[in-house]
């Protein structure tokens, strides 16, 4: 995560921008977006190269890695031919790229279904949890960071700094376990593992795959509340990590801003300290903050791998770890690919948003 700090910090606008005229803005934006698209395509190709490399080159026997060592001879041979292992590596790679682009990620040996289908089924659960997590992180982290910066060096500031560092030092899976022991077993404030209590399972027909929304669509408040008690803890744990990161970045951005001349200008005008903080210092960091929030959101996908294992949350993280333990290579690579792609996607979207939203970058 530390590298993200640096890149996001670089994105912080402090000085003036060059001058540009209205007529050229649109074209510049289009060109910028096109540039980003090309970059995305290359990065994605690189991502495929990595998963290909992991799947075909690293294992001593890639076929074994896919079918597992209990597979009968015939299956083994069939997969070998299907993977095209008799052809040169570069041909295999293009074959692989073609397959992925057509949505074919191979079969999972543990579920017996196409990996792509599995992933589409489990992804909404992760999305739902990560989204609530990032909402918690933004809602608490931004005000904390702004407050800490406005009281630099105070006790509250020190506490917020340490909380920020705890975000880098606490294992997510451990925090989840401790949370379960405390809030579920002892205090019974929240629901246990899983997305919902067992006797509600399967009642709601998936529409969006997001249980909270689906239950509302079905008008079933009881299930909605039950799902809420289940998602609260894992989302709060994820929220803690994004809170820590966002608070830390917000604080650092705000400290930069508060030292700017235009903040002094606002004070000269007699603007109240609250408005100086939010209108003059905070507004300019909104755009770089979007980048930070995007990074954090993408980071929660990573965090969800550990959290889902702890909470038996039927999302992509759980799918990935199960596949890992079953040496189900197609599933592992498929999940890696999807997480990687979403990660890249979110990063690039925040890049583009940056260009579009910042008056100086237009």
């Amino acid at each position: 995560m530390a590298s993200e700090i640096d890149s996001a910090a670089k994105a912080l606008p402090t000085g003036p921008g060059g001058s540009s005229r209205n007529a050229r803005h649109a074209w510049k934006t289009v060109k910028g977006v096109l540039g980003v698209l090309v970059a995305v395509a290359f990065t994605f190709l690189g991502l495929l190269a990595i998963t290909f490399f992991i799947g075909r080159v690293v294992p001593i026997d890639p076929v074994l890695a896919v079918v597992g060592d209990r597979a009968p001879r015939a299956v083994y041979e069939a997969v070998r031919i299907e993977m095209g292992l008799d052809k040169p590596l570069i041909v295999q790679f293009f074959h692989y790229v073609g397959n992925v682009l057509t949505g074919d990620l191979g079969m999972s040996v543990s579920t017996g279904r196409p990996v792509a289908e599995d992933l589409a089924r489990v992804f909404p659960a992760t999305l739902e949890m990560a989204t609530i997590g990032i909402i918690i992180g933004v809602a608490l982290g931004v005000p904390m960071g702004v407050y800490a910066a406005s009281r630099q060096g105070s006790l509250v500031d020190q506490v917020i700094r340490v909380v920020g560092l705890l975000g880098y030092s606490v294992p997510a899976f451990w925090l989840g376990l401790v949370g379960l022991a405390l809030f579920y077993a002892k205090l019974q404030w929240v629901g246990g593992p899983g997305r919902i209590d067992i006797f509600y399972d399967g009642i709601i027909e998936p529409v969006t795959g997001l249980l909270l929304i689906d239950s509302l669509l079905a008008g079933d408040i009881e299930i909605f509340v039950n799902a809420l008690t289940h998602i609260a803890l894992p989302a709060a744990v994820l929220g803690f990590f994004s809170l820590a990161y966002i608070a830390r970045m917000t604080r650092s951005f705000m400290l930069d801003q508060l030292a700017q001349e235009y903040v002094t200008t606002a004070r000269v005008k007699g603007v109240s300290e609250r408005l100086v903080l939010w209108r003059h210092a905070f507004r300019p960091i909104l755009v770089p903050l979007i980048t930070v929030i995007g990074l954090s959101y993408a980071g929660l996908l990573e965090g969800s791998v550990m959290i889902e294992t702890v909470f038996s949350w039927p999302g992509i993280g759980n799918y990935l770890t199960t596949a890992l333990l079953n040496a189900d290579m197609n599933a592992v690579l498929g999940a890696t690919l999807v997480i990687g792609a979403v990660f890249i996607g979110i990063n690039k979207i925040s890049d583009v948003l940056y260009r579009v939203l910042d008056p100086r970058a237009r």
Binding site: G15, S19, Q260, E261, Y262, A266, R267, K269, R283
Partner: protein
């Protein structure tokens, strides 16, 4: 005597690794509705003086004074809230470089309007009219268009005129201009100073013009303070500058080249000889 501003023994102190350092050491001044120039080389404490009048020295800096009264109010005893009602409305300050002192993500119109709205409640069209009138007063030809621009979309000279408009629109009694032209192209410097001078005279405000340029200050001010490492070393009327006694001032004067003189070598400011 109805002095606008009365300062006695102003000190600005910063703690450093080597202990507290006074960057302004016991400055005193009395200002009526006149134009006072403060000159001195860079780092001599001019900006610190200007900002302490507005009580805008950021911690860890400390401001102390035996007296600092504005129109009879003791500025040092005011609460932060009362001080805010003075800032902008009664005492205002034009900052050095519009590239850094204007908020990059607010339109010029919003920034000017804010100066007004902070101190009085006004209707939308009132604000607009007054903002447009103010922009015209600082000689901006197409104020309608400029209102909607962001600071990076205007030139430095235009930016500084916007700054002046923003600082004068609440009609303060005292304007502090801290090196208002040193970040600008030479070609627009005179124009910006003319605008300040004109508005200050028309509204009968007090002006403190801070600059490192003795020539400029003597052209636009009635009275001049010369500062050097936090202290006032000379105080005189602008017209009597050539009779200045202090060697430091004489040094400053001598380093200004004149068209009507010829000399082989530009004199260098003699620092050691000028020490007090």
């Amino acid at each position: 005597m109805n002095a606008l501003l009365e300062i006695r023994n102003l000190k600005v102190t910063f703690p450093t690794a080597r202990g507290p350092v006074d960057v302004v050491k016991g400055l005193s001044l009395t200002l009526g509705r006149e134009r006072l120039g403060i000159v001195g080389e860079s780092g001599s404490g001019k900006s610190m003086t200007g900002r302490s009048i507005l009580r805008l020295i950021r911690s860890p800096g400390q401001v102390t004074a035996d007296e600092m009264t504005f129109n009879g109010t003791d500025l040092l005893s005011l609460s932060e809230k009362q001080m805010r009602s003075i800032r902008g409305a009664r005492i205002s300050m034009v900052m050095q470089d519009p590239k850094f002192s204007l908020n990059p993500v607010m339109t010029i119109g919003d920034q000017i309007a804010e100066a007004l709205l902070t101190h009085q409640k006004l209707g939308r069209s009132d604000i607009r009219n007054r903002t447009l009138a103010m922009l015209e007063a600082v000689r901006i030809n197409d104020p309608e268009r400029v209102l909607g621009l962001y600071p990076h979309e205007v030139s430095g000279g235009m930016g500084q005129r916007v700054m002046i408009a923003m600082m004068l629109i609440p009609e303060p009694d005292l304007l502090i201009a801290d090196e208002p032209t040193s970040a600008l192209d030479v070609s627009v410097q005179a124009q910006v100073l003319e605008i300040i001078d004109d508005l200050v005279k028309r509204k009968g405000m007090g002006l403190i013009l801070i600059s490192h340029d003795l020539d400029l200050v003597s052209a636009y001010c009635d009275r001049i303070l010369v500062m050097r490492s936090g202290e006032v070393v000379e105080e005189c009327d602008a017209g009597e500058l050539k009779n200045a006694k202090h060697p430091y001032t004489r040094g400053l004067l001598a380093s200004i080249p004149r068209i009507d003189e010829s000399r082989d070598e530009l004199p260098v400011l003699e620092r050691t000889g000028a020490s007090t």
